[in-house]
């Protein structure tokens, strides 16, 4: 790509000039962001419809609304976040002051993903702006309408000297990754995550990797006899209601006790009909599969004869419309691809267990997911889930809402990534916490200096132990 070096040099100069560090700049950009989504709501809805067939309600909830909410929160808090924090000091350092001051990293790269091509691109941008960085934004080429929409319109609302949108496919990504960045924020798959981190290692660049994983939902029917309808809705909402399962925090599979499985599947089937009508193919509320590759990948998951035989509901497809029906599978083999890979689509395997407590071992013997959902009223079970499984987040008795909670860090662990954002954590993700100690010249402690002798040795030992009485005794010659 011609001119990439030039673009980066310009961003480095801008950053060096201090322009992006001021509160005024940060606030003006955040205001610009709010204005951008307000002015362009309809056009964003259209672009999202084009790329993934998202209904405007879903588009508002998962994209426009998320961006507006995040920008408003940052706008009202950024000054507070920027303030240095005081650190406590032991008396031996007196007189002195200690602070932790957040400072911007510099020039950062944000790589967005295609499933939420607006929010997962602009929410990290809001974070980088709040922290005072210069930014290159690389939207996913798999959502081309949104990508070119952002490239065309972001410069009209945000400072083009400090924030650049660069479009392109794999070759452009490769060139971007060869450059030296002060931080890389990547949302996407584990495979590409590894490539990004390997490239970052060349320049010792810190990375945040927002990946996915197989997020399980645990259905403890015995402690929840009365709320089945609500639960079915929440499960269906988190499987098909968010980009047709093409979401990193969507439910991947469902764990339930065998005796409740068929009732649950019936109830889910009913909920699907309630949501998408008798013929979901015609529903505007269901997203399409993003592209041919993913369509084919999902069909391949279903092609395995043992998996195909396990389809309990749905299973129809329409390649022309890139449509796959909401599909439920009962106990597909655990070694089949559908149970070893992240599904990222509208297929829901239901795995039955004799006892719901077995779900803990089931989950902890697999890679750590981004989210765990558990429907239960059993407090002992809740405690065990929390202490014996590991995941980015755990949500009890609901789905997806953890994503909207500003006070909770959002991010993975293990195979689901590392680093976190949302709310204040977004600001922290793009800031270096600089430790600052300020001292005066007096008083001066003589024992700090050579030549060494045993008096100084004792002094240092006592000072490190903050043993002030011992220190006084030593200085008075009363202690040996």
């Amino acid at each position: 790509m011609e001119g990439l070096e030039g673009t980066l040099a310009e961003l480095r100069d801008t950053f060096k000039s201090g322009r992006t560090r001021s509160v005024a700049w940060r606030k003006s950009q955040l205001r610009g962001m709010i204005e951008f989504v307000q002015d362009n709501e309809e056009r964003i809805f259209q672009a999202l419809d084009q790329d993934v067939g998202k209904h405007p309600v879903e588009a508002y909830r998962d994209e426009v609304g998320v961006v507006a909410k995040s920008a408003k929160l940052s706008l009202s808090c950024v000054e507070k976040w920027m303030a240095p924090k005081k650190g406590d000091l032991p008396l031996v350092f007196f007189p002195a002051s200690a602070q932790v001051m957040p400072e911007p990293f510099g020039v950062v790269l944000i790589m967005g993903s295609w499933n939420f091509p607006i929010s997962l691109t602009l929410d990290p941008l809001i974070a980088a702006i709040s922290a005072g960085n210069a930014v290159v934004l690389k939207p996913s080429e798999l959502s081309p309408t949104c990508s070119s929409f952002l490239a065309e319109n972001i410069p009209k609302y945000l400072d083009p000297k400090s924030i650049k949108v660069i479009e392109g496919g794999i070759d452009v990504c490769e060139q971007l990754l060869q450059q030296k960045w002060d931080k890389i924020f990547f949302t996407g798959s584990q495979r590409v995550g590894r490539i990004v981190m390997t490239a970052a290692a060349q320049h010792l660049t810190p990375v945040t990797l927002e990946l996915g994983g197989k997020c399980p939902a645990i259905m403890d029917s015995s402690s929840n006899p009365t709320n089945m309808k609500v639960i079915a809705k929440r499960i269906a909402g988190a499987k098909w209601g968010s980009c047709s399962g093409q979401a990193c925090i969507a439910i991947d599979y469902l764990l339930v006790e065998e005796r409740f499985a068929s009732d649950l599947i019936d109830l889910l089937a009913k909920t699907i009909k309630q949501f998408y009508g008798e013929n979901p193919r015609e529903s505007t509320s269901l997203c399409k599969i993003v592209n041919k590759n993913n369509f084919k990948r999902l069909l391949d998951l279903l092609k395995d004869p043992l998996v195909e035989a396990s389809v309990a509901y749905g299973g129809s497809v329409d390649e022309e419309k890139m449509y796959i029906e909401p599909t439920i599978l009962l106990n597909p083999p655990l070694d089949s691809q559908i149970m070893t890979e992240e599904i990222f689509g509208p297929l829901l395997p239901v795995i039955t267990l004799d006892d719901i407590y077995e779900s803990i071992d089931f989950i902890s013997s697999r890679p750590k997911p981004l989210a765990i959902y558990a429907f239960t009223r059993d407090e002992k079970f809740k405690k065990q889930i929390l202490s014996r499984t590991s995941s980015g987040s755990v949500t009890f008795n609901d789905t997806l809402l953890q994503f909207l909670c500003d006070s909770l860090p959002f991010g993975g662990v293990g195979q689901s990534g590392f680093g976190r954002y949302h709310g204040k954590y977004s600001f922290d993700t793009f800031s270096h916490e600089k430790a600052i100690l300020q001292r005066g010249f007096f008083p001066e402690l003589e024992p700090r200096y050579p030549p060494w002798n045993s008096f100084k040795l004792h002094f240092i030992k006592l000072a490190y132990a903050f043993n002030y009485i011992g220190l006084i005794l030593l200085l008075l010659g009363l202690k040996k």
Binding site: Y60, G237, S387, V394, F396, L401, I436
Partner: protein, 502 residues
């Protein structure tokens, strides 16, 4: 493991893989998660320090002082430079343990998080959980502290772990390999000794965190290896840490602090020791005179003979440092010192005035007893000099000028900043210690150590009430307005919409 066995078994990829599997099983058993386990291990670390002070001092002495002093008895050692560093290392480590023991209950408590109208009714918390099986690779310059201080963090957070001490400090390495199994839970905490091949075998394994202290070259290798398994890393590296000296200060105190930070910290072989000084032309001579005078009071007329100064760690580093000194455009700039004793790996404290900025000594981290002084016409020009290089681990300023302090803090990027002192920021546990850019990523000390080895899990508790139909399909355009109001927490619009008024 006895020495004979060690000699027979090679630590290869297969052995490393068995080791991590074993640790994974122990971690899965939940043993290391309990508060009691963590406390008992921390207490044992203190006990180990108390009962083996002499052994630790001996090992450090062997690794960093003249070999012929080996047989000297402990009492005589008390006044040597290495001894000062063993005291500092043991004291700092014991402080870390004591703090962790005192605060651990607090650190382990889930942190309450606020919830908004959007998720009403609900409650939320952030739970700290151990990451799992972690690898700590440490450095030779403070082989004791830089091995065990991260270990204290990993224990506090409840992980199982492998410690790989540096092979360049062999005495400390083998002492740690001997002592740790005696005092700590051998099933959860392992020591692997070795050099490149052992480290490579370890790096091929899947870890839940890698904590590396050392240089940028190896740091890159560690991070690239970690990328294969998507393992997060903490890299504690170094860099050229500058000292800016303004005029009009208490020069004697400033000089003494600089000297202790430079030559009194392992003879400059410390990641936070001053690498070079920047000062103005008219102040440079005064500064050099004061440095000379104080150096003499500290180390005598012949510093090569002083027992208060560490030697260079090995002959590789010795020749690297002499190469820096012998570069043509640099060798004429020596204003103090420059003496060396190759047989005993000693280099005297050396000051170089007005070295050219394109010299080797100004391009790489010095990590030794050479101190170049750069001259600028205005002290404010220092910011640009510093920022034209890579970001250092520490940046220091001596001044009484409040405005300069503010400018320095705002415009110089570094892992940490100390004003009117050297290196002391690292002893303050309420300050995170770590680099930025080329000086590393991630931080530790105090609670930051616990956090470095913990995963912060978000937990949201909901009930079954408060289920708004607008969350679910079929979607209608009417749902948008209410959703907008909800997401912006606009109560007024919510009410109006619900009452059908808008």
């Amino acid at each position: 493991m006895s020495t004979e066995e060690e000699n027979q078994t090679v630590f290869d990829v297969a052995a490393a893989s068995m080791l991590t599997e074993e640790l994974r099983d122990v971690f899965a058993s939940g043993k290391t998660r309990s508060y009691e386990w963590r406390i008992s291990q921390l207490k044992s670390v203190i006990k180990m320090c108390d009962e083996h002070e002499e052994d630790i001092a001996d090992a450090l002495h062997q690794d960093l002082s003249k070999p012929k002093l080996e047989s000297i008895v402990y009492e005589v050692l008390v006044s040597s430079e290495v001894d000062w560093w063993y005291v500092v290392q043991i004291s700092m480590l014991k402080n870390s343990c004591a703090l962790a023991i005192k605060e651990l209950k607090q650190w382990m408590m889930p942190e309450k998080a606020k919830t908004s109208l959007l998720t009403f009714p609900s409650s939320a918390e952030i739970v700290s959980e151990p990451l799992g099986v972690v690898l700590i690779i440490s450095a030779w310059n403070y082989p004791f502290l830089l091995s065990l201080d991260p270990l204290v963090g990993a224990i506090s957070a409840g992980n199982t772990m492998v410690l790989k001490p540096s092979e360049l400090s062999p005495a400390t390495s083998s002492l740690l390999a001997k002592l740790l199994p005696e005092y700590l839970d051998v099933s959860s905490i392992k020591v692997v000794e070795g050099a490149v091949s052992e480290t490579s075998a370890l790096l091929e394994q899947k870890w839940d965190k890698i904590f590396y202290t050392g240089n940028g070259r190896v740091g890159r290798i560690v991070m690239a290896a970690a990328a294969k398994h998507l393992t997060p890393v903490v890299l504690e590296l170094g860099g050229k840490s500058p000292v800016v000296v303004d005029s009009g200060i208490d020069l004697q105190i400033a000089t003494r602090r600089i000297i202790v930070g430079k030559w009194g910290c392992n003879n400059g072989q410390a990641c936070i020791s001053p690498d070079y000084i920047i000062t103005t032309k008219d102040y440079a001579d005064k500064l050099v005179d004061s440095l000379k005078k104080e150096l003499e009071t500290f180390y005598g007329e012949n510093p090569l003979e002083s027992k208060d100064i560490s030697r260079i760690v090995n002959s590789n580093h010795f020749s690297r440092l002499t190469k820096l000194l012998d570069e043509d455009k640099v060798s004429g700039k020596i204003v103090y010192g420059g003496e060396r004793d190759e047989a005993n790996l000693k280099i005297a404290p050396t000051i170089l005035l007005d070295v050219p900025r394109d010299s080797l000594i100004m391009k790489e981290e010095i990590f030794g007893p050479l101190l170049p002084i750069l001259i600028v016409s205005e002290i404010e020009d220092s910011w640009d000099v510093i920022n034209s290089g890579t970001k250092p681990l520490a940046a220091y300023l001596f001044t009484n000028n409040k405005k300069l302090k503010e400018q320095f803090v705002m415009s110089v990027s570094a892992g940490g900043v100390a004003i009117n002192d050297i290196a002391m920021h690292l002893a303050i546990h309420t300050l995170p210690f770590g680099g930025v850019g080329e000086s590393g990523t991630g931080s530790y000390h105090g609670k930051f150590s616990f956090d470095a080895f913990s995963h912060k899990k978000s937990v949201l508790y909901r009930s079954f009430t408060g289920d708004a139909a607008l969350r679910y399909p079929p979607y209608t355009l009417g749902k948008i307005r209410l959703m907008k109001a909800l997401m912006t927490s606009n109560l007024w619009t919510i009410l109006r919409t619900l009452l059908g008024l808008s």
